[in-house]
């Protein structure tokens, strides 16, 4: 009986199912079939051998990974920088969007918005060489600080390990703040204007209205964005760290992806690299589920899974 009803339903939706088929195939081929490659992490993989000739080594690569003190160093750097960038790169665009949203002058608003997007389109290579010039011995920052009498000797910012995390985060905020605020601005446009009027009648000032109308109005978007950012916490890439870093700050600039590159792919240790890849995926999925769970507790509408 049940089967019959299911068949009937399938027949009823046959066109929809047919239309989705290509995408399902696409997902299977490009997202699920490659997972087969994970077997590499449990072998001592060499490219010229066939699958059956690869010796199985069990969890040896994982054991080696967790025993390597350098792994903990790069994990620390990765997590610190991604949490910093989550905190700043997530809250500041919301504040920026809130402020922009309050602007009445249409032209000025559009102008500021456009200007703030622009750095997003500049590649990290250029941004990095721009900032290393700016932060150099005779760069603008040092000249300004000297002229103001704050320091009496130029500081080589990029050579100081303790400044590195802060610098990378600030530069990233500068680059991405405008771009990241777009989605929040769009969500604010959708807030019902009547609510503002009602709040105004009730005697709410500008900040009250922001707090009680705008922010609750975009809370779903904020939650979705947060879940997505947390899921990507460990995937911070390596461009910024690679381009802004140097030998002097390596203790602070080496991140997980660079570690994969230097100790995995670059020396032909594909298996080791794959093991780290699996580890990363597991961490990402765990974080994603965690964030989703927390948000579901706080605000049942905000969860996405």
């Amino acid at each position: 009986m049940n089967l019959k009803r299911a068949m009937g339903k399938i027949y009823h939706q046959r066109y929809l199912l047919l239309m989705s088929l290509p995408f399902v195939i696409w997902v299977v081929i490009f997202k699920y079939v490659p997972i087969w490659g994970w077997t590499m992490a449990f072998q001592e993989y060499k490219p010229h051998r066939t699958f059956w000739q690869q010796p199985w080594v069990g969890l040896a690569h994982f054991r080696e990974l967790f025993r390597d003190p350098m792994f903990y160093e790069v994990m620390r750097n990765t997590l610190v920088m991604s949490v910093l960038s989550l905190i700043c790169g997530y809250t500041l665009p919301i504040i920026f969007a809130l402020l922009l949203n309050e602007l009445r002058n249409g032209f000025f608003k559009r102008f500021v918005q456009t200007v703030s997007y622009l750095p997003h389109f500049v590649s990290w290579v250029i941004v990095a060489s721009m900032f290393s010039k700016l932060l150099g011995i005779d760069g603008g920052v040092n000249q300004a600080l000297m002229a103001l009498g704050i320091i009496d000797k130029p500081i080589l910012f990029l050579a100081q390990g303790r400044y590195f995390w802060g610098l990378v985060t600030s530069i990233e905020v500068w680059k991405e703040i405008g771009w990241n605020s777009i989605i929040f601005l769009a969500a604010m446009m959708a807030v019902d204007p009547d609510l503002y009027d009602a709040a105004a009648v009730d005697g709410a000032g500008r900040f009250r209205r922001m707090w009680h109308v705008t922010l609750p109005g975009i809370s779903t978007v904020i939650a979705i964005m947060l879940i997505m950012s947390i899921g990507n916490l460990i995937n911070i890439g390596f461009e910024k760290q690679f381009l802004l870093g140097n030998n002097l700050v390596k203790d602070y600039s080496e991140v997980l992806d660079l570690y994969v590159l230097n100790y995995g792919i670059r020396i032909g240790r594909y298996s080791y690299g794959t093991a780290i890849g699996i580890f990363k995926s597991v961490v990402s999925v765990t974080l994603l589920l965690l964030a989703n769970g927390i948000i579901r507790r706080i605000n049942p509408e905000g969860r996405i899974i």
Binding site: G136, L156, N247, L248, L261, R266, G268, Y270
Partner: protein
């Protein structure tokens, strides 16, 4: 009927598409794909006049691909994919041989390799891969039997020595005194602060300007990261030699007294070149090929007094520079034919032709009557052409001259062809031709004609039986690779740290570094490398 007609038409169209490809046109060149481990900034897509001549003579057209970014990365990805171009120019044969990417060239050399046999001569045996695997997988690049006339040494601006009345320039102390005296006199150059000594630590370039220099200044030849004892043939990681610690201590002292560029370990390559091209860096410890571009810019601006002389600077009188030592032929890097090659015989014949006298002269000298002329049996480059060759940055790209010398089999500098002319254009006269007036003036003041005259001469130096240790292929052993990578990482972090520390901290940091590389597996790496070295020496018949 109509259907049959349509079918017939379709068949003809399909045939028309297939046939021309099948029946190869005699005039169509054979296209060989090639991966080159080194970037050629003047690549023309094999369309320059010399390339056309090569295609004319061999019927082969090359499609060369270069690594984007890092060499190792590209190579490991290529091996992982298992798809190779027809030819590969590698800078470390290990991974390719391990993956079975190269075919053994021995039978081809027997059958078609007349020119190759002639070019490598007695060194042909050194092309054999190892004592256990005597196959020849690739043809070595770098000039065979090359004489050395050109040295890099340690670089100091002509303006400095001239101003100070050509002081003795032999030890780091002499160098330091000169830089110090000049900076005191001229704290700025063209309105910008004068920089004493600038180093470059951008990725692998760190090896060239920082660590290699410590070996050179303490009397060691260029063996990459190794130092080979000339008596016992035992290799140690060169940074562990106590002499080199003293060199780094000197750099630390230079930093302490403000003569070392504080941006030394932060700047990227382009920033470094721009700084040199501004003319305010007094001294470098670099290799000429690395700073050459910036010097060219100085020449173009007419700032000849800001270009550099090469001095045989050593740590102290106990040492002598080995720059001119004859390293023999090492055959570590080279070009091979892969298992995926469409037509290995044609590819081999092409490589053999590249080794022929005709090709060597074409590639080095250019086209007769265009790039050079023959007067009384001597090849001569007319003055106008010579001027372009020396000073026009577009010369190579436009004429193709010199583009296909490296990384193909090549004759060394100073070797004579059957007509009594040198195969390459580099001769002492050619080098002297490049010297600017001030350069000649400085050289004359030091009683020399060429920079190499200031260095210990080749005949005073012992020969180096192990060749260049940096050209020994590293083993594909994960434990070795991992330890090696870690040691390199530690050295790249700690040496800059030690140099920039306050002098009383120096020893503590240096000891810490030595301890760290010990813990990272130094012993294992050293033992393994010594095995390879011993194998090479046995393989070459140096030891029993």
């Amino acid at each position: 009927m109509k259907r049959l007609f349509v079918l017939g038409m379709a068949l003809m169209v399909v045939l028309g598409l297939i046939l021309p490809a099948g029946a190869a046109d005699k005039n169509e060149p054979l296209i060989l794909t090639m991966f080159s481990g080194d970037i050629n900034p003047d690549d023309t897509g094999f369309e320059d006049p010399i390339a056309k001549k090569i295609t004319e003579a061999t019927g082969v057209k090359l499609k060369i691909e270069y690594p984007v970014g890092e060499y190792e990365q590209k190579v490991t990805l290529m091996i992982a994919s298992g798809e190779y171009p027809d030819l590969i120019f590698h800078k470390n044969a290990g991974p390719f041989v391990e993956a079975g990417a190269f075919i053994d060239l021995t039978p081809y050399i027997e059958e078609y390799g007349e020119n190759i046999k002639k070019l490598y001569g007695p060194y042909l045996n050194r092309l054999r891969y190892s004592i256990d695997d005597p196959s020849i997988y690739y043809l070595g690049c770098f000039g065979v039997g090359s004489k050395v006339w050109d040295v890099s040494g340690v670089q100091l601006q002509h303006a400095v020595v001239k101003e100070l009345g050509y002081p003795k320039m032999e030890t780091v102390q002499d160098l330091e005194n000169a830089i110090k005296a000049y900076i005191e006199k001229y704290p700025t150059i063209n309105g910008q602060p004068t920089i004493g000594l600038s180093l470059l630590a951008d990725d692998w370039r760190f090896l060239i300007t920082v660590t290699n220099q410590a070996a050179f200044a303490t009397g060691a030849p260029d063996d990459g990261e190794w130092y080979v004892d000339p008596e016992t043939y035992e290799a140690v990681l060169h940074h562990t030699r106590p002499e080199e610690r003293e060199y780094f201590r000197w750099l630390n002292h230079m930093n302490d007294i403000g003569l070392l560029d504080p941006e030394s370990f932060v700047q990227k390559y382009d920033q470094y070149l721009a700084k040199i091209a501004s003319g305010r860096v007094l001294a470098l410890t670099d290799a000429r090929w690395q700073y050459e571009q910036a010097e060219q810019a100085l020449r173009q601006q007419g700032m000849f007094e800001r270009t550099y002389g090469s001095y045989p600077i050593v740590l102290d009188e106990r040492f002598r520079r080995m720059d001119l030592q004859d390293p023999g032929y090492s055959a570590g890097w080279g070009i091979g034919i892969t298992v995926d090659c469409k037509d290995p015989v044609a590819a081999f014949k092409f490589l053999d032709w590249m080794a022929s006298d005709e090709a060597q002269i074409l590639n080095n000298w250019g086209i007769e009557g265009v790039n050079y002329v023959v007067i009384d049996g001597k090849r001569v480059i007319p003055p106008e052409e010579m001027n372009r060759r020396l000073n026009d940055p577009n010369y190579r790209r436009e004429t193709g001259v010199g583009l296909y010398v490296y990384p193909f089999p090549q004759r060394g500098d100073g070797i004579l062809d059957p007509t009594g002319n040198t195969y390459t254009v580099t001769t002492p006269d050619y080098i002297k031709e490049r010297y600017s007036d001030i350069e000649k003036e400085v050289l004359a003041a030091y009683g020399a004609e060429m920079w190499m005259d200031l260095f210990p001469q080749q005949d005073e130096l012992p020969i180096k039986p192990w060749g260049a240790a940096w050209q020994i292929p590293t083993p594909e052993d994960p434990k070795y690779q991992m330890a090696w990578q870690r040691i390199q990482d530690i050295i790249r972090r700690r040496i800059p740290e030690a140099i920039l520390a306050s002098p009383d901290q120096f020893d503590a940091i240096y000891d810490k570094m030595l301890q760290e590389i010990e813990d990272a597996g130094l012993e294992y790496v050293t033992t393994e490398f010594n095995k390879l070295l011993q194998n090479r020496l046995k393989h070459w018949g140096i030891i029993e």
